[in-house]
């Protein structure tokens, strides 16, 4: 028999259960909570990873950071929502949103970014910030600024395995799978294909690449288009089975950016690991310390990484001196 003094205060309120069972139940619940919080972090992390992959892609192919990525993803997600609400299937909306992302990325590069290319890199970054605000305002005008539910193609119940709850819904599994596929595709693109090599070359040194016959302009457009498509994917993944509004990507932009920096901005694998680390850490902070500390924790991670490993955990390229 456990001495009464050893009983934590919480257990004393379990009046209906015998004492020992109460403690065992509490331990089981504590373990279950950790599992829940960790798995929730995994599924959130997959979304940050998707977003970080888009940032990595654009960084590797153009050497700028696209702050409009989140707004672009949000915008194409609304296009999917409009299609789904008009009676089309989820997958039609999904496919159209990805294609719209591809197109939007190419258009933005050709019509907007092209004009500031060649100038200081900061100009392009500032332009993307402007786009970020403009697209959000445009979405509010076109689609309304209220919360709307976005359907998911799979179930939204967690699994129950022998009395233990697995806090991953079928849709979460789909999201994680999609991120892994994109990551592998990006690794393959940059490592094993000619196009990938040309894209990297164009980003690395436009002059030399041109002299070597690389169509630099087209490569930059392609980089933007592909990155915007991955950004659209992250928008769709975070929207599925949840609520959307024009600013719903804002948190993902911040956390996805930290994830990309964590992974070194250059490495698809690093982006995914960074995303998962962010997701898990923030979920644990939210669950055990309080949701008001989530944004602060993200900032702390960013500062720590920049101080300790400024090139990120997975970066292999040395800093280029100009």
């Amino acid at each position: 028999m456990v001495a009464p003094t050893a009983v934590p205060r919480g257990a004393a309120t379990t009046m209906s259960e015998p004492l020992i069972e109460g403690i065992a139940g509490r331990n089981r619940r504590t373990m279950q909570q950790f599992l829940n919080v960790a798995l929730n972090g995994l599924s959130q992390g997959a979304i940050y990873a998707a977003f970080a992959l888009a940032l990595v892609l654009i960084w590797r192919s153009t050497r700028i950071i696209n702050f409009a990525q989140g707004s672009m993803g949000m915008f194409t997600t609304y296009i999917a929502l409009a299609l789904i609400e008009s009676g089309r299937s989820y997958w039609v909306g999904f496919a159209v949103a990805l294609l719209a992302g591809l197109l939007l990325g190419a258009l933005v590069e050709r019509l907007v970014i092209r004009r500031v290319e060649g100038g200081p890199e900061l100009n392009a970054v500032i332009v993307t910030l402007g786009l970020f605000v403009a697209l959000q305002a445009l979405a509010a005008i076109l689609f309304g600024a209220t919360y709307r539910s976005f359907p998911a193609p799979f179930g939204l119940h967690g699994f129950d395995v022998g009395g233990v709850n697995i806090a991953l819904t079928p849709f979460n599994l789909f999201a994680i799978g999609a991120v892994v596929v994109v990551m592998l595709a990006l690794v393959a693109l940059f490592r094993f294909t000619d196009v990938g090599l040309r894209m990297r070359a164009s980003a690395f040194n436009q002059e030399v690449s041109r002299l070597l016959g690389v169509p630099v302009g087209r490569m930059l457009t392609l980089g933007w288009a592909l990155a915007a498509m991955v950004g659209s994917l992250s928008g769709l993944l975070i929207a599925g089975g949840s609520l959307v509004f024009p600013a719903y990507m804002d948190a993902v932009i911040v956390y996805g950016f930290v994830a990309a920096v964590l992974g070194g901005l250059d490495s698809p694998v690093g982006a995914v690991v960074g995303g998962l680390v962010m997701g898990m850490t923030l979920s644990v902070v939210s669950g055990y310390l309080g949701s008001e500390l989530v944004a602060l924790a993200a900032l702390a991670i960013l500062v720590t990484v920049l101080l300790v490993r400024p090139r990120g955990l997975f970066s292999r390229t040395a800093v280029r001196q100009v």
Binding site: G25, L156, G290, S291
Partner: protein, 443 residues
């Protein structure tokens, strides 16, 4: 009482000074009212009374809340069609602040200085309205029936022109806490709270009666849509009854998170978060029939202080339906529109009480004098007096069943702090036959 009046006069004098300095046109407009022989109060002419309000018509708080002023306007149009109040038609101007306090300051400035409204009626939201509290009170503008259950509106010494309307969150929390303690004494209670005054006041009220029954309290930050960690913590604490002081979108998000966690406690959402039509519409579009709208909220317990649209044979709801059919715009009558109409009804009563030549100070004095006796759509009486600007004194507990509600308790009333909770025995006589109140002017 005298002390309040003195302070108010002082503030009013200061307000006029400021108004004169900042808006020279103000006095001109007063004179332009052109009502022979009467007092010339801002916003009042011989045949009109101009009042204003701020609401989130766009943005994240807009769903539901943007309906409220359409209800208010419909009721004022109804009253105007029946001759107005003392021959004056009510001109109602509402502006969008998107639930953003800095916008609220701007639109309320416009309403007061440019539109020159007589009073602000029903301005919505704790944070948005807090931003204009000082301005309205220093200008001496009656600030009636703030659409929020915060305790901030009941500070008659500091803010003599501001009045609450709905039951405040602490009173609601107290009644909920005692109901749970008495009827579910073995329940292990988890609190799911918005991380601001709303959650804090509700928690304070509920804990006063629940004491040891509370096993966990979790707060969410508005804007962070991932509430699974909070719900998982409530689950881990073994809570089998979750009491939510949250807004409707977070009712939907907490339901989705609990699906993921296979967590099935008894849910008890305070009045704000429980509108079945709104939450149902948010939840209904999720796929595969797994989440089927309002039915997901079956069995959820909540509180009420007005008869809702689902009680179609309630005499007040019949009146609101009639008003909406005749003067409403697009869309159905919703609980939010009904709320707006009920606030409008209380304003008409107050304006009548202020007599044939209403002044801003007269309006406030009249409400302090007769406010506690006003008979209206509210299930519980108001607590208005010289010492209290608090709104309704209580709520009843009910359970959602599909799109209707079933009553679980009589109406209980109480006050803030240590005041006891008692059953309200007064009967609601229903609306007058023509749907327009007739309150005697305060002599």
């Amino acid at each position: 009482m005298n002390k309040h009046i003195g302070r108010r006069d002082l503030l009013r004098a200061g307000g006029w000074g400021l108004a004169a300095a900042t808006a020279g046109s103000l006095f001109g407009a007063c004179g332009a009212g052109g009502r022979p022989g009467g007092s010339s109060e801002v916003g009042i002419t011989g045949n009109t009374v101009k009042i204003g309000a701020h609401f989130p018509l766009t943005g994240v708080a807009a769903p539901g809340y943007s309906d409220i002023p359409t209800g208010t306007k419909a009721y004022f149009d109804y009253v105007n069609a029946h001759g107005g109040v003392n021959g004056r038609k009510i001109e109602y101007i509402f502006r969008d602040d998107a639930y953003n306090p800095s916008n609220t300051s701007q639109v309320v400035n416009e309403l007061v200085l440019q539109d020159q409204v007589f009073a602000i009626v029903g301005g919505l939201g704790t944070a948005p309205h807090s931003a204009v509290l000082d301005f309205l009170n220093s200008e001496g503008v009656p600030d009636l029936f703030v659409s929020s259950g915060s305790l901030l509106w009941d500070q008659p010494k500091k803010n003599p022109y501001t009045f609450g309307w709905q039951p405040d969150y602490e009173v609601e929390g107290k009644i909920i806490g005692r109901y749970v303690h008495r009827n579910m004494p073995n329940a292990r209670v988890g609190l799911f709270l918005q991380d601001d005054d709303f959650g804090d006041d509700g928690e304070k009220g509920a804990r006063a009666y629940l004491g040891d029954q509370v096993v966990a309290a979790q707060r969410y930050v508005s804007g962070n849509t991932d509430v699974a960690p909070q719900i998982a913590a409530l689950q881990a604490a073994g809570a089998d009854l979750v009491l939510g002081f949250n807004v409707p979108s977070y009712t939907a998000l907490s339901q989705l998170a609990s699906l993921k966690l296979n967590y099935r406690p008894q849910w008890f959402y305070s009045n704000v978060g429980s509108d079945p039509a709104l939450v149902g519409s948010l939840l209904s579009r999720f796929s595969k029939g797994e989440v089927s709208g309002a039915s997901m909220l079956d069995g959820v317990i909540t509180t009420e202080y007005l008869a809702g649209v689902e009680e179609a044979d309630d005499p007040w709801v019949e009146l609101w339906q009639q008003v909406w059919d005749a003067h409403g715009g697009e869309g159905e009558l919703t609980n939010f529109r009904l709320y707006g109409m009920a606030e409008a009804y209380t304003f008409v009563q107050t304006l009548q009480a202020a007599g044939p030549d209403p002044t801003r100070d007269g309006l406030v004095a009249a409400l302090e004098k007769v406010g506690a006796e006003l008979q209206g759509p509210g299930l519980a009486p108001f607590r208005y007096s010289g010492d209290s600007h608090a709104g309704m004194a209580g709520v009843k507990v009910s359970r959602l069943a599909g799109n209707s509600t079933e009553k679980l308790s009589p109406v209980f009333v109480t006050d803030n702090g240590k005041a006891e909770i008692t059953e309200y025995t007064g009967r609601n006589p229903g609306p007058p036959p023509n749907g327009i109140p007739s309150v005697e002017p305060v002599g």
